[in-house]
Amino acid sequence: MKQIAKERFNHVGQNLHESENISRPSLTFFQDAMRRLVKNKVAFVCTIIILLMILLSVIAPMMSSFDFREQHYGHSNARMMTVCDDAASEGCGHTHIFGTDILGRDIFTRIWMGGRVSLIIAFASAIIDFFLGVIYGGVSGYFGGTTDIIMMRLLEIINGIPYLIIVILLMMIMKPGIVTIIIAYSLVGWIPMARLVRGQIVALKQQEFVVAAEAMGASASRIIARHLLPNALSVVIVRVTLSIPAAIFSEAYLSYLGLGVPLPNCSWGSLAQLGIENFRIYPYQLVLPAVCISLTMLAFNLFGDGLRDAFDPRLRR
């Protein structure tokens, strides 16, 4: 046993302030989730892809020397990377990076114009989805009982109407265009979101912190706005992120059926539809828009997955 100096045994007593200290940095739930998301390599790559798509859609048509409607008769169905020699065109001397379509229009410019349309439709639908779904689902879930039963049955009735019929009817009443497609999709697209939000609210309602707020005398609006929705938010955000590819695909599918944006406006779906006619001879005219659709959808899906993992408290390390 080693010898120890007597002074070292002097009484010091408790130090409680130190023992109540929290050494870790304070992170809100979202900050922690974002940190985890960034570490997820797949989600990171997907974020880059999504941003790239958005950037190109905004900038590329502006920077391109060709207009998306401009037709070059001598150069229809040109291969990729052909140089334009149409003297009448502004873009004379510049390269058709993606070639031209059957009417000689530059595909590169059209792809990114189409990107604008597809992405606008997707984001707008997702936002309308979000608001309609959250409000409907929130009210139904919180009030429960008869209100919930009636609202959910109504929801199921609306859901039962075939989507395509609604779209066709709308097309007959309204002029085909971006707004029509957004309205058509939004008429039924909010239903899964409403169901999801309602489910979340019903589950959260039973949590003790909600009971505590009710015991405190909080009003229904306060509980929904301050307690239920913020806690349901993570699931909702993930759902919104995943509804974007659904909207993109829906638009592509409608355009493919000829119910999409009218010519000469383009969207990825309508470009794909044009491309299929001569697929065997000029495959790039179909492949290019198809790749854009697929890549964007995949990127959003994987990003949504990454987001869901980041928000899951059980995976927190």
Partner: protein
């Protein structure tokens, strides 16, 4: 001389987290002999569950990591065992029962079938023999009508009976060591009494060594032969049950016992609580882990970790108060 079933020497287990390395277990040495019950007592975060899970290597190895130390389970060197070797050891040499039996049993399989599965994995018995063995195990834990009960599903069992079924499953392959991780915490008092009585009965009948992890000192008093008190990743005092309850020397053990009211505690006495909270093991304190909350804390306690002092008969404690050079209370400037 009793045979040592488990010999753990200076175990260090760390977890790699986003905020840094959490040293969950910081040098634990303990042993369990054949047929004895060792209770590991401590509060949440002290490392007792991690220690037990490391014996069976149940912690996912990243982020957990055995930083150093040795675990000898009978003839097996656990630290050096591969995952395949561990699969042979788990269930056969050592098994575990958990706090919540509902989440530990497969809700879609009959209870009898789950036990048969465990038996067939480790023992060479035919299906018929294994089924009979399973019913025998259920009978051993005092489940009435074991033949019928074996055909039922977990949700048809009550809480206490599920815990018994889990004990039956754990003992089905006659392991040398049973680890019980808070087996009665989730149970009502009267059911807890039933389970404790069962564990005592089994201890006498089948000679399995038991490590009982709990924070309930009442349960410890009724069942344990030896007790190890853990705090902040270390064992601060260990000894026989009588040593810990009647001859305790570590301030944490003493404070813990004083904070429990007994039926004789009168209302005008204030409960002796331990102020403050256990330290964050992300940045463990330099000296003794209990120093910040100890009313006897001395200068040396903050600077250096206490050595282990032998108090005779297997009773050890880690506290500077036990050092021969330590002066009396008045000389130190402390208060009684």
């Amino acid at each position: 001389m009793a045979k040592k079933i488990l010999d753990m020497d200076d175990l260090h287990v760390s977890f790699d987290t986003y905020a840094g390395v959490v040293q969950a277990v910081r040098g634990v040495t303990l042993h369990v002999d054949e047929g004895e019950v060792l209770a590991v007592v401590g509060e949440s975060g002290c490392g007792k569950s991690v220690t037990a899970q490391t014996i069976m290597k149940l912690n996912p190895m990243p982020p957990a990591r055995i930083a150093s130390g040795k675990i000898q389970l009978d003839t097996h060197n656990i630290v050096k065992c591969s995952e395949k070797e561990m699969q042979n050891i788990r269930g056969k040499e050592v098994s575990m029962i958990f706090q919540d039996p509902m989440t530990c049993m497969n809700p879609t399989k009959q209870v009898g079938k789950q036990i048969v599965e465990a038996i067939k994995l480790h023992r060479k018995l035919s299906h018929q023999e294994a089924t009979e063995e399973a019913i025998k195990c259920l009978r051993q834990v005092n489940i009435p009508n074991p033949e019928e009960r074996a055909k039922q599903y977990p949700h048809e069992f009550s809480g206490g009976m599920r815990q018994r079924a889990m004990i039956a499953m754990a003992l089905s392959c006659n392991p040398k060591l049973l680890i019980a991780d808070e087996p009665t915490t989730a149970l009502d008092v009267t059911i807890q009494a039933q389970i404790m009585e069962l564990l005592v009965e089994l201890k006498h009948k089948i000679n399995t060594a038991i490590i009982l992890i709990t924070h309930d000192l009442g349960v410890v008093a009724s069942v344990a032969d030896r007790v190890a008190v853990m705090y902040a990743g270390k064992i601060v005092e260990t000894g026989s049950s009588h040593d810990i309850f009647y001859r305790n020397t570590h301030p944490y053990t003493q404070a813990l016992l004083k904070s429990l009211p007994s039926p004789d505690t009168t209302k005008n006495i204030r409960l002796a609580s331990i102020p403050g909270t256990p330290p964050d093991l992300l940045a463990p304190p330099v000296g003794c882990g209990f120093a910040a909350r100890c009313e006897h804390c001395m200068g040396i306690c903050r600077e250096e970790e206490p050595d282990e002092f032998d108090l005779g008969n297997g009773h050890h404690a880690k506290c500077w108060l036990l050092h021969p050079d330590c002066p009396s209370v008045e000389e130190r400037g402390g208060k009684l």
